[in-house]
Symmetry: C2
Subunit: 237 residues, 2 copies
Protein backbone atom coordinates (compact mmCIF):
# COMPACT_ATOMS: atom_id res chain seq x y z
CA UNK A 1 0.00 0.00 0.00
CA UNK A 2 1.00 3.62 -0.41
CA UNK A 3 0.76 5.92 2.60
CA UNK A 4 -1.51 8.89 1.88
CA UNK A 5 0.59 11.07 4.15
CA UNK A 6 4.28 10.38 3.35
CA UNK A 7 3.53 8.79 -0.07
CA UNK A 8 5.90 5.87 0.70
CA UNK A 9 4.97 2.24 0.13
CA UNK A 10 4.54 0.05 3.20
CA UNK A 11 3.63 -3.52 4.20
CA UNK A 12 0.55 -4.75 6.01
CA UNK A 13 2.50 -5.12 9.28
CA UNK A 14 3.32 -1.44 9.16
CA UNK A 15 -0.24 -0.35 8.50
CA UNK A 16 -1.55 2.64 10.45
CA UNK A 17 -5.06 3.78 9.70
CA UNK A 18 -7.81 3.20 7.18
CA UNK A 19 -8.59 5.93 4.67
CA UNK A 20 -11.63 7.17 6.56
CA UNK A 21 -9.72 7.67 9.81
CA UNK A 22 -6.87 9.34 7.91
CA UNK A 23 -9.30 11.84 6.40
CA UNK A 24 -10.98 12.47 9.74
CA UNK A 25 -7.61 13.03 11.41
CA UNK A 26 -6.61 15.52 8.70
CA UNK A 27 -9.84 17.44 9.20
CA UNK A 28 -9.35 17.43 12.97
CA UNK A 29 -5.84 18.81 12.52
CA UNK A 30 -7.12 21.59 10.30
CA UNK A 31 -9.81 22.47 12.84
CA UNK A 32 -7.32 22.53 15.70
CA UNK A 33 -5.03 24.80 13.68
CA UNK A 34 -7.91 27.15 12.94
CA UNK A 35 -8.78 27.25 16.63
CA UNK A 36 -5.15 28.07 17.45
CA UNK A 37 -5.21 30.94 14.95
CA UNK A 38 -8.38 32.31 16.52
CA UNK A 39 -7.00 32.02 20.03
CA UNK A 40 -3.76 33.74 19.02
CA UNK A 41 -5.74 36.63 17.56
CA UNK A 42 -7.69 36.82 20.82
CA UNK A 43 -4.51 36.87 22.90
CA UNK A 44 -3.14 39.62 20.70
CA UNK A 45 -6.39 41.61 21.05
CA UNK A 46 -6.49 41.17 24.83
CA UNK A 47 -2.82 42.00 25.35
CA UNK A 48 -2.81 45.38 27.02
CA UNK A 49 -1.31 48.41 25.32
CA UNK A 50 -2.07 51.68 27.00
CA UNK A 51 -0.33 54.87 27.91
CA UNK A 52 -2.75 55.53 30.75
CA UNK A 53 -0.85 55.06 34.00
CA UNK A 54 -1.98 56.00 37.48
CA UNK A 55 0.37 54.12 39.78
CA UNK A 56 4.13 53.62 40.16
CA UNK A 57 5.90 50.41 41.11
CA UNK A 58 9.20 50.85 42.87
CA UNK A 59 11.92 48.26 43.61
CA UNK A 60 13.28 49.13 47.06
CA UNK A 61 15.92 47.78 49.40
CA UNK A 62 14.37 45.46 52.01
CA UNK A 63 16.14 47.05 54.98
CA UNK A 64 16.34 50.75 54.18
CA UNK A 65 13.20 51.02 52.05
CA UNK A 66 15.17 53.19 49.63
CA UNK A 67 14.94 52.67 45.88
CA UNK A 68 17.50 50.18 44.51
CA UNK A 69 20.50 51.73 42.72
CA UNK A 70 20.06 52.05 38.93
CA UNK A 71 16.33 51.54 39.21
CA UNK A 72 13.47 53.83 38.27
CA UNK A 73 9.78 53.76 39.12
CA UNK A 74 7.84 51.55 36.69
CA UNK A 75 4.57 53.23 35.70
CA UNK A 76 1.49 51.04 35.47
CA UNK A 77 -2.26 51.11 35.53
CA UNK A 78 -4.24 50.31 38.68
CA UNK A 79 -6.98 48.56 36.72
CA UNK A 80 -4.44 46.26 35.04
CA UNK A 81 -2.72 45.39 38.31
CA UNK A 82 -6.06 44.81 40.05
CA UNK A 83 -7.36 42.69 37.19
CA UNK A 84 -4.32 40.39 37.21
CA UNK A 85 -3.55 40.07 40.92
CA UNK A 86 -5.93 39.76 43.88
CA UNK A 87 -3.15 41.10 46.12
CA UNK A 88 -2.79 44.30 44.10
CA UNK A 89 -6.59 44.51 43.96
CA UNK A 90 -6.84 44.44 47.76
CA UNK A 91 -4.06 47.03 48.05
CA UNK A 92 -5.56 49.39 45.52
CA UNK A 93 -9.28 49.05 46.17
CA UNK A 94 -8.97 49.84 49.83
CA UNK A 95 -7.63 53.00 51.42
CA UNK A 96 -4.22 51.50 52.00
CA UNK A 97 -0.95 53.38 51.82
CA UNK A 98 -0.33 52.24 48.23
CA UNK A 99 -3.71 53.42 47.05
CA UNK A 100 -3.35 56.83 48.67
CA UNK A 101 0.26 57.49 47.65
CA UNK A 102 -0.06 56.01 44.15
CA UNK A 103 3.21 54.14 44.73
CA UNK A 104 3.68 50.44 45.44
CA UNK A 105 7.03 49.45 46.93
CA UNK A 106 8.34 45.93 46.23
CA UNK A 107 11.27 44.83 48.33
CA UNK A 108 12.03 41.39 46.96
CA UNK A 109 12.72 42.16 43.36
CA UNK A 110 15.39 43.55 41.03
CA UNK A 111 14.54 46.42 38.68
CA UNK A 112 14.79 44.08 35.67
CA UNK A 113 12.48 41.51 37.22
CA UNK A 114 10.00 44.22 38.16
CA UNK A 115 9.84 45.55 34.59
CA UNK A 116 9.44 42.01 33.23
CA UNK A 117 6.74 41.31 35.83
CA UNK A 118 4.71 44.40 34.89
CA UNK A 119 5.09 43.62 31.21
CA UNK A 120 3.77 40.11 31.85
CA UNK A 121 0.73 41.52 33.61
CA UNK A 122 0.01 43.57 30.48
CA UNK A 123 0.76 41.01 27.78
CA UNK A 124 1.17 37.50 29.28
CA UNK A 125 4.58 37.41 27.57
CA UNK A 126 8.02 37.12 29.14
CA UNK A 127 11.42 36.01 27.95
CA UNK A 128 12.76 33.64 30.63
CA UNK A 129 16.12 32.33 31.73
CA UNK A 130 16.69 30.34 34.94
CA UNK A 131 17.24 33.42 37.02
CA UNK A 132 14.30 35.41 35.68
CA UNK A 133 11.99 32.40 36.01
CA UNK A 134 12.89 32.12 39.72
CA UNK A 135 12.46 35.84 40.31
CA UNK A 136 9.10 35.95 38.53
CA UNK A 137 7.91 32.83 40.34
CA UNK A 138 8.62 34.58 43.66
CA UNK A 139 6.60 37.61 42.54
CA UNK A 140 3.83 35.44 41.08
CA UNK A 141 3.51 33.62 44.39
CA UNK A 142 3.55 36.78 46.47
CA UNK A 143 1.05 38.66 44.29
CA UNK A 144 -1.01 35.55 43.47
CA UNK A 145 -0.63 35.69 39.69
CA UNK A 146 -1.43 32.02 39.03
CA UNK A 147 -0.94 32.13 35.29
CA UNK A 148 2.60 33.50 35.62
CA UNK A 149 3.42 31.00 38.35
CA UNK A 150 2.41 28.09 36.12
CA UNK A 151 4.43 29.61 33.28
CA UNK A 152 7.59 29.86 35.41
CA UNK A 153 7.08 26.40 36.89
CA UNK A 154 6.80 24.88 33.41
CA UNK A 155 10.02 26.59 32.38
CA UNK A 156 11.89 25.47 35.51
CA UNK A 157 10.56 21.90 35.23
CA UNK A 158 11.81 21.75 31.64
CA UNK A 159 15.29 22.62 32.92
CA UNK A 160 15.31 20.22 35.90
CA UNK A 161 18.33 17.95 36.28
CA UNK A 162 19.27 15.68 39.15
CA UNK A 163 22.17 17.94 40.19
CA UNK A 164 19.87 20.88 40.93
CA UNK A 165 16.75 18.99 41.99
CA UNK A 166 17.29 19.44 45.73
CA UNK A 167 17.72 23.19 45.37
CA UNK A 168 14.62 23.34 43.16
CA UNK A 169 12.71 21.23 45.66
CA UNK A 170 13.57 23.55 48.52
CA UNK A 171 12.93 26.70 46.42
CA UNK A 172 9.57 25.35 45.23
CA UNK A 173 8.54 24.65 48.83
CA UNK A 174 9.42 28.18 49.89
CA UNK A 175 7.15 29.62 47.21
CA UNK A 176 4.33 27.08 47.19
CA UNK A 177 5.05 25.90 43.66
CA UNK A 178 3.20 22.59 43.73
CA UNK A 179 4.09 21.46 40.20
CA UNK A 180 7.77 22.18 40.71
CA UNK A 181 7.71 20.39 44.09
CA UNK A 182 6.25 17.28 42.46
CA UNK A 183 8.66 17.31 39.50
CA UNK A 184 11.80 17.84 41.58
CA UNK A 185 10.70 15.32 44.20
CA UNK A 186 10.14 12.74 41.50
CA UNK A 187 13.69 13.31 40.21
CA UNK A 188 15.07 13.04 43.74
CA UNK A 189 13.24 9.75 44.34
CA UNK A 190 14.80 8.33 41.17
CA UNK A 191 18.27 8.99 42.62
CA UNK A 192 17.90 8.12 46.29
CA UNK A 193 21.17 6.14 46.35
CA UNK A 194 23.12 9.35 45.68
CA UNK A 195 21.01 11.66 47.85
CA UNK A 196 22.74 11.70 51.22
CA UNK A 197 26.15 12.36 49.66
CA UNK A 198 25.17 15.72 48.27
CA UNK A 199 26.16 18.95 49.97
CA UNK A 200 22.71 20.49 49.42
CA UNK A 201 21.24 17.51 51.24
CA UNK A 202 23.30 18.21 54.35
CA UNK A 203 22.38 21.88 54.15
CA UNK A 204 18.69 21.07 53.85
CA UNK A 205 18.83 18.71 56.85
CA UNK A 206 20.30 21.62 58.77
CA UNK A 207 18.00 24.33 57.45
CA UNK A 208 14.64 22.64 56.98
CA UNK A 209 14.64 19.00 58.12
CA UNK A 210 10.87 18.69 57.62
CA UNK A 211 11.42 18.87 53.85
CA UNK A 212 13.91 16.02 54.11
CA UNK A 213 11.39 14.01 56.10
CA UNK A 214 8.89 14.56 53.29
CA UNK A 215 11.37 13.12 50.81
CA UNK A 216 11.77 9.96 52.90
CA UNK A 217 8.04 9.67 53.42
CA UNK A 218 7.46 9.92 49.67
CA UNK A 219 10.18 7.34 49.08
CA UNK A 220 8.61 4.92 51.52
CA UNK A 221 5.16 5.43 50.08
CA UNK A 222 6.51 4.82 46.57
CA UNK A 223 8.21 1.58 47.73
CA UNK A 224 5.03 0.32 49.35
CA UNK A 225 3.00 1.10 46.21
CA UNK A 226 5.55 -0.58 43.97
CA UNK A 227 5.46 -3.64 46.21
CA UNK A 228 1.66 -3.76 46.05
CA UNK A 229 1.68 -3.54 42.25
CA UNK A 230 4.37 -6.25 42.06
CA UNK A 231 2.45 -8.68 44.29
CA UNK A 232 -1.05 -8.05 42.87
CA UNK A 233 -2.00 -10.90 40.51
CA UNK A 234 -2.25 -9.64 36.94
CA UNK A 235 -5.76 -10.05 35.56
CA UNK A 236 -5.10 -8.76 32.07
CA UNK A 237 -5.37 -11.21 29.25
Amino acid sequence: MKCLSCKERYDAVEAGTCRECYEEASETEEELKREIEELRAKVSFLGFRSTFTDVLLLAVDLDSGNPLPNSAPVPANKAVLASRSPVFRAMLETEMEESLSGTIKLSDVSYDALRTFVNYLYTAEACLDDDMACNLLILADKYEVKHLKTYCEKFLISKLIWETSLISYSFAHQHNAKNLIDASLSLILDNMDKLSKREEYLELVEKDPRLVVEIYEAYLSKQVNTAVVATTPCNDD
Copy 2:
Protein backbone atom coordinates in the same frame (compact mmCIF):
# COMPACT_ATOMS: atom_id res chain seq x y z
CA MET B 1 -5.30 -4.87 8.11
CA LYS B 2 -6.72 -3.45 11.30
CA CYS B 3 -6.96 0.33 11.62
CA LEU B 4 -5.05 1.58 14.67
CA SER B 5 -7.56 4.37 15.11
CA CYS B 6 -11.07 2.87 14.72
CA LYS B 7 -9.90 -0.76 15.26
CA GLU B 8 -11.94 -1.93 12.25
CA ARG B 9 -10.53 -4.22 9.56
CA TYR B 10 -10.02 -2.72 6.10
CA ASP B 11 -8.73 -3.69 2.62
CA ALA B 12 -5.66 -2.42 0.82
CA VAL B 13 -7.75 -0.10 -1.37
CA GLU B 14 -9.04 1.63 1.73
CA ALA B 15 -5.59 2.11 3.26
CA GLY B 16 -4.80 5.49 4.81
CA THR B 17 -1.41 5.89 6.41
CA CYS B 18 1.54 3.81 7.46
CA ARG B 19 2.15 3.24 11.16
CA GLU B 20 4.87 5.88 11.39
CA CYS B 21 2.69 8.61 9.92
CA TYR B 22 -0.20 7.54 12.16
CA GLU B 23 2.01 7.91 15.22
CA GLU B 24 3.35 11.26 14.07
CA ALA B 25 -0.16 12.54 13.40
CA SER B 26 -1.28 11.44 16.87
CA GLU B 27 1.63 13.29 18.45
CA THR B 28 0.89 16.39 16.39
CA GLU B 29 -2.73 16.29 17.51
CA GLU B 30 -1.66 16.04 21.16
CA GLU B 31 0.71 18.99 20.73
CA LEU B 32 -1.96 21.10 19.08
CA LYS B 33 -4.37 20.31 21.89
CA ARG B 34 -1.78 21.28 24.48
CA GLU B 35 -1.18 24.56 22.66
CA ILE B 36 -4.93 25.21 22.65
CA GLU B 37 -5.07 24.60 26.40
CA GLU B 38 -2.23 27.05 26.96
CA LEU B 39 -3.79 29.69 24.73
CA ARG B 40 -7.14 29.32 26.49
CA ALA B 41 -5.46 29.85 29.85
CA LYS B 42 -3.76 32.95 28.41
CA VAL B 43 -7.07 34.31 27.12
CA SER B 44 -8.62 33.73 30.51
CA PHE B 45 -5.69 35.48 32.24
CA LEU B 46 -5.80 38.44 29.85
CA GLY B 47 -9.57 38.86 30.01
CA PHE B 48 -10.13 42.03 31.97
CA ARG B 49 -11.88 41.97 35.32
CA SER B 50 -11.68 45.20 37.22
CA THR B 51 -13.85 47.40 39.32
CA PHE B 52 -11.75 50.46 38.54
CA THR B 53 -13.79 52.70 36.29
CA ASP B 54 -13.07 56.28 35.31
CA VAL B 55 -15.31 56.94 32.32
CA LEU B 56 -18.99 56.51 31.46
CA LEU B 57 -20.41 55.41 28.11
CA LEU B 58 -23.86 56.70 27.31
CA ALA B 59 -26.26 55.61 24.56
CA VAL B 60 -27.99 58.79 23.35
CA ASP B 61 -30.60 59.73 20.78
CA LEU B 62 -28.96 60.91 17.55
CA ASP B 63 -31.14 64.00 17.18
CA SER B 64 -31.76 65.25 20.70
CA GLY B 65 -28.52 64.01 22.29
CA ASN B 66 -30.57 62.83 25.29
CA PRO B 67 -29.99 59.42 26.87
CA LEU B 68 -32.11 56.65 25.31
CA PRO B 69 -35.15 55.56 27.36
CA ASN B 70 -34.47 52.58 29.67
CA SER B 71 -30.73 53.05 29.36
CA ALA B 72 -28.13 53.83 32.00
CA PRO B 73 -24.52 54.97 31.75
CA VAL B 74 -22.15 52.03 31.29
CA PRO B 75 -19.05 52.47 33.47
CA ALA B 76 -15.70 51.56 31.93
CA ASN B 77 -12.01 52.13 32.24
CA LYS B 78 -10.17 54.61 30.02
CA ALA B 79 -7.10 52.40 29.78
CA VAL B 80 -9.19 49.46 28.56
CA LEU B 81 -11.02 51.54 25.96
CA ALA B 82 -7.77 53.13 24.77
CA SER B 83 -6.01 49.77 24.60
CA ARG B 84 -8.71 48.20 22.43
CA SER B 85 -9.71 51.07 20.14
CA PRO B 86 -7.53 53.70 18.45
CA VAL B 87 -10.61 55.92 18.20
CA PHE B 88 -11.22 55.84 21.94
CA ARG B 89 -7.49 56.33 22.47
CA ALA B 90 -7.50 59.52 20.40
CA MET B 91 -10.61 60.75 22.23
CA LEU B 92 -9.23 60.06 25.67
CA GLU B 93 -5.57 60.90 25.31
CA THR B 94 -6.24 64.38 24.01
CA GLU B 95 -8.10 67.18 25.70
CA MET B 96 -11.33 66.44 23.88
CA GLU B 97 -14.77 66.87 25.36
CA GLU B 98 -14.97 63.16 26.26
CA SER B 99 -11.69 63.23 28.12
CA LEU B 100 -12.61 66.33 30.11
CA SER B 101 -16.18 65.35 30.98
CA GLY B 102 -15.44 61.65 31.60
CA THR B 103 -18.49 60.75 29.51
CA ILE B 104 -18.52 59.35 25.98
CA LYS B 105 -21.81 59.66 24.11
CA LEU B 106 -22.62 57.07 21.45
CA SER B 107 -25.52 57.89 19.19
CA ASP B 108 -25.75 54.83 16.98
CA VAL B 109 -26.28 52.11 19.50
CA SER B 110 -28.91 50.52 21.73
CA TYR B 111 -28.28 50.17 25.45
CA ASP B 112 -28.00 46.38 25.07
CA ALA B 113 -25.50 46.62 22.24
CA LEU B 114 -23.45 49.16 24.19
CA ARG B 115 -23.19 46.87 27.22
CA THR B 116 -22.27 43.92 25.01
CA PHE B 117 -19.70 46.09 23.20
CA VAL B 118 -18.01 47.17 26.44
CA ASN B 119 -18.02 43.62 27.73
CA TYR B 120 -16.31 42.49 24.52
CA LEU B 121 -13.61 45.11 24.96
CA TYR B 122 -12.94 43.64 28.41
CA THR B 123 -13.15 39.93 27.64
CA ALA B 124 -13.23 39.30 23.85
CA GLU B 125 -16.46 37.38 24.47
CA ALA B 126 -19.95 38.12 23.16
CA CYS B 127 -23.08 36.08 22.64
CA LEU B 128 -24.31 36.93 19.12
CA ASP B 129 -27.54 36.73 17.21
CA ASP B 130 -28.09 38.32 13.77
CA ASP B 131 -29.19 41.60 15.22
CA MET B 132 -26.42 41.89 17.82
CA ALA B 133 -23.78 40.89 15.24
CA CYS B 134 -24.92 43.74 12.98
CA ASN B 135 -24.99 46.25 15.84
CA LEU B 136 -21.56 45.25 17.09
CA LEU B 137 -20.12 45.29 13.57
CA ILE B 138 -21.28 48.91 13.20
CA LEU B 139 -19.57 49.83 16.50
CA ALA B 140 -16.45 47.83 15.65
CA ASP B 141 -16.17 49.69 12.35
CA LYS B 142 -16.73 53.09 13.92
CA TYR B 143 -14.34 52.57 16.83
CA GLU B 144 -11.85 50.50 14.80
CA VAL B 145 -11.97 47.36 16.89
CA LYS B 146 -10.68 44.98 14.22
CA HIS B 147 -10.91 41.81 16.28
CA LEU B 148 -14.59 42.36 17.01
CA LYS B 149 -15.28 43.25 13.38
CA THR B 150 -13.76 39.96 12.20
CA TYR B 151 -15.75 38.10 14.85
CA CYS B 152 -19.05 39.63 13.72
CA GLU B 153 -18.23 39.13 10.05
CA LYS B 154 -17.52 35.44 10.64
CA PHE B 155 -20.84 35.05 12.42
CA LEU B 156 -22.79 36.86 9.68
CA ILE B 157 -20.99 34.92 6.93
CA SER B 158 -21.94 31.65 8.63
CA LYS B 159 -25.60 32.75 8.45
CA LEU B 160 -25.55 33.99 4.84
CA ILE B 161 -28.26 32.71 2.52
CA TRP B 162 -29.12 33.83 -0.98
CA GLU B 163 -32.36 35.48 0.14
CA THR B 164 -30.51 37.94 2.39
CA SER B 165 -27.26 38.25 0.44
CA LEU B 166 -28.15 41.58 -1.22
CA ILE B 167 -29.01 43.18 2.10
CA SER B 168 -25.81 41.82 3.62
CA TYR B 169 -23.83 43.05 0.63
CA SER B 170 -25.19 46.57 0.99
CA PHE B 171 -24.80 46.54 4.80
CA ALA B 172 -21.22 45.27 4.54
CA HIS B 173 -20.37 48.07 2.08
CA GLN B 174 -21.76 50.70 4.45
CA HIS B 175 -19.48 49.50 7.24
CA ASN B 176 -16.37 48.51 5.29
CA ALA B 177 -16.68 44.84 6.13
CA LYS B 178 -14.44 43.39 3.43
CA ASN B 179 -14.91 39.70 4.32
CA LEU B 180 -18.68 40.03 4.41
CA ILE B 181 -18.67 41.94 1.09
CA ASP B 182 -16.70 39.12 -0.55
CA ALA B 183 -18.87 36.35 0.90
CA SER B 184 -22.19 37.97 0.02
CA LEU B 185 -20.98 38.98 -3.44
CA SER B 186 -19.91 35.42 -4.12
CA LEU B 187 -23.39 34.19 -3.17
CA ILE B 188 -25.00 36.84 -5.40
CA LEU B 189 -22.79 35.84 -8.36
CA ASP B 190 -23.94 32.22 -7.97
CA ASN B 191 -27.56 33.33 -8.40
CA MET B 192 -27.36 36.01 -11.10
CA ASP B 193 -30.34 34.59 -13.01
CA LYS B 194 -32.61 35.44 -10.07
CA LEU B 195 -31.00 38.75 -9.16
CA SER B 196 -32.96 41.38 -11.04
CA LYS B 197 -36.30 39.96 -9.87
CA ARG B 198 -35.66 40.68 -6.23
CA GLU B 199 -37.20 43.67 -4.52
CA GLU B 200 -33.93 44.50 -2.69
CA TYR B 201 -32.25 44.66 -6.08
CA LEU B 202 -34.61 47.37 -7.29
CA GLU B 203 -34.14 49.25 -4.03
CA LEU B 204 -30.37 49.06 -4.31
CA VAL B 205 -30.43 50.33 -7.91
CA GLU B 206 -32.40 53.28 -6.58
CA LYS B 207 -30.38 53.90 -3.44
CA ASP B 208 -26.80 53.06 -4.39
CA PRO B 209 -26.41 52.11 -8.06
CA ARG B 210 -22.61 51.99 -7.80
CA LEU B 211 -22.91 48.87 -5.66
CA VAL B 212 -25.03 47.26 -8.38
CA VAL B 213 -22.42 48.22 -10.97
CA GLU B 214 -19.81 46.48 -8.82
CA ILE B 215 -21.88 43.29 -8.87
CA TYR B 216 -22.04 43.33 -12.67
CA GLU B 217 -18.34 44.12 -12.96
CA ALA B 218 -17.52 41.17 -10.67
CA TYR B 219 -19.85 38.96 -12.72
CA LEU B 220 -18.18 39.95 -15.97
CA SER B 221 -14.73 39.46 -14.53
CA LYS B 222 -15.69 36.01 -13.25
CA GLN B 223 -17.07 35.04 -16.68
CA VAL B 224 -13.88 36.15 -18.40
CA ASN B 225 -11.72 34.22 -15.92
CA THR B 226 -13.86 31.11 -16.30
CA ALA B 227 -13.54 31.37 -20.08
CA VAL B 228 -9.73 31.67 -19.80
CA VAL B 229 -9.52 28.62 -17.55
CA ALA B 230 -11.80 26.65 -19.89
CA THR B 231 -9.70 27.43 -22.99
CA THR B 232 -6.25 27.04 -21.36
CA PRO B 233 -4.75 23.64 -22.31
CA CYS B 234 -4.44 21.40 -19.28
CA ASN B 235 -0.81 20.58 -18.51
CA ASP B 236 -1.38 18.28 -15.55
CA ASP B 237 -0.54 14.66 -15.97
